[in-house]
Amino acid sequence: MSSQDHLKETDTEARFEFKKEEKSAFKSEKGLTEETIRVISEDKDEPEWMLERRLRALEQFEAMPMPTDWPEAPDLSEVDIDQIVPYIRPDIDVRGGVDDWTDLPEEIKDTFDKLGIPEAEKNALSGVGAQYESEIVYQNMQERWEEKGVVFCDMDKAVQEHEELVKEYFMTKAVPPSDNKFAALHGAIWSGGSFVYVPEDTTVEMPIQAYFRMNSEGMGQFEHTLIIAEEGSEVHYIEGCSAPKYSAFNLHSGGVEVFVGEDAHVQYSTVQNWSKNTYNLNTKRAIAEKGGRMEWISGSMGSKATMLYPSTILKGRGASDNHITIAFAGEGQDIDTGAKVYHNAPETKSTIESKSISKDGGRTNYRGLVHIADGASDSSTAVECDALMFDNESTSDTMPYMEINESKVDVAHEATVGKIGDEDIFYLQSRGLDDDDAKQMIVSGFIEPITEELPIEYAVELNRLVELEMEGSLG
């Protein structure tokens, strides 16, 4: 299989193609109009129903207010959709990647350097976007997927080739555009993303990976991921995200919909390292049928402001959910993240584990909602939030909401906030570690419950990102 074929199998190919087409095909204006949407839809050669959905979502977007009434919500006043290039990338002089890589701000380049990715791979990663991420796994797994009937393709292709499935599930059940303003925006101008279909009783042993990268200044990325895991199936989907930093803001407003069939098991892992001019406003939601199990694992390291609350609706008896989140907010960052779980059936179970670190004026917030509906008897939920702070310029908030309409339940929420213990540091120093190393080691220990849930390569990446952030602060 040629590398071109690989590209076509992933969402990233589409975005790479945009770069090529940009000069010849499109000179889209900034902002969002019906005309823009028609152009996007036409370019994608979409069926009429998809265009209609886009236009309906646009109407909803225009009608909805910005979410300004949330207590202590991140400041989104800078997010002006009229300043966003929703679809077409501006000036790309990258041909072959190398230039693009060197164009990257030192901050990101340095990050990759320190991540220990060899030079050759570095070039591949920046030059061909996510190809590097996809290629390794993809190549190894392609044959097996196809034999088992597993589908992994980019979302635009899915609209063409799996039209009935997409028509049934796309923003109709899990994330309707009316859910929130940015879901509506997403519904209007979504582009790219992954479509995953796992047939009954099929286990995809190795994780499926996608890497999302934004390259252009002032652009918005709106990829849509739709995962359908049929009865008894199992799949682990991993996404990585990064973008170079520009002075203008970027907007990432992805949509993720996961359908966990009866007794199926889906794990969705994200390591997000958007540049610090990016607003990361996603809507991610899963619906779990009887006995289904959903796991969300999220590491939020980057972005200027993140508002992300992966949700699970436990719809069938005995369905379960597991959230593990880690947020790291440095200078100028506002990471407002958490979880939402709706227990709508008996014997459902959820556990939420959140770890956050804030330093140098950064803010983290755990904002979570657990709702146990009347009749969801014998359900249980346990929420645990731990926060670590480095200084008195930073902020660490915890805002859980619990709505319990059923008595036969076991509900527990716990949270702690603290600083690194002087005694712990002293102990490590007495063992010959310097102050920085001691702090780093304590932070690594603090987030270990989360890194141990990740595949080794992601755990390593997460740890390195944390170390990098720490170096910046302590050096």
């Binding site: 926060a387 008195n392 660490s396 805002m399 909401y401 319990i404 059923e406 509900v411 716990e414 949270a415």
Partner: protein, 405 residues
Amino acid sequence: MSTKAIESLSEDTVRHIAEERDEPEWLLETRLNALSALETAELPDVIQTPGRRWTDLEALDFEALVDPLNQSDATERTAGDDEVVVAPFTEAFDEYGDTLEEHFGTVLDPEHNYLTALSVALFTTGTFVYVPEGVDVEDVKIRAEMNSRSLFSQTLVVAEESSSVTILESIESGEESEIEGDRYFSNLVEVVGGENAAVQFGSLQNLDDDTYTYSLKRGITDTYATIDWIESNFGSKLTRSDVETELNGDGSESQIVGTFFGSEDQHFDVNARVWHQAEHTTADLVTRGVLDDVARSVYEGVQDVGRDAWNTSSYQRENTLMLSDDAEADASPKLIIHNHDTEASHSATVGQVDAEDLFYLESRSIDSLTARNMLVEGFFVPVLEEIAVDEFREDVEELVVERLQ
């Protein structure tokens, strides 16, 4: 959101109240300012999640509930000590007018929200408690009965340097009251905790189930001061209660203990908030509540640690026990932390009476209802233990037992 104006309210109403009570000019002005603030003031914040407003205050028909000129109460005040002043404002103006003026509205801005403004404009009862420097007094009791459509109460506690006082304030519906239909009780309490002073303010609300209750209690601590609250709610159809402490003095402390027992269709919206704004401050928020029938509780706890609040300790626990399948409990314990030199934690649980405990008692040949009741009584023990006034503790125990019949 703009709140409806109450048509029957005018400056004349407020002047009339002030004149009848022979109030000084400054208080009339404060009242009039509060009245005009009604035009723009908003109802207290209520938690909202997608598709769900935790308490609907907007549904209250203030036009029908507020009857300012016919307020009536019977209040018994016991000082327990000659050195302390425990009196209605009207009896305190002559001798303590300056102290009243100095502190009134400094802890709790009358224009804080629509309901506080309404309360300040219209209050006709309440108590001034003044504890002079170095005086220790136990068992100050203020027992009030509400005998009218609406009643607005305003209490100010000033504890001077190195004084200490324990206060019990209770409110219930008067037995002879012939008022039919819904009623409204509003209670504002301000506590000024002077340097090294210690105040425990206990409150017991057991109004009948036609009454809507709004209560906001706030204290400010000076250096080394302690303000402890015990807020117990048993009565009312709908209760909105906020208990708050601003820890403004270094080394100051506050404990907020809350308890409620809801049955039938009672709705409790209880809130405990603390702001750490100085060094070495400590706060402990403990709330325990039981819900039976179709009762509903809403809880918000806030621990806010400011940038300069070095060496803070702050703890919060909330536990709700559900006795009925149709009860509902919403809870939101929040941490807002701006200083890393903090040890803070909170926890919240919702559950039933423990099945194993029940089984154990039953195996000792205790019938299941008695066993359950014993466990519920035991559930309140951590709260009861904090109450310093014996009479108050006994009242709460009695009310719990009464509810369990």
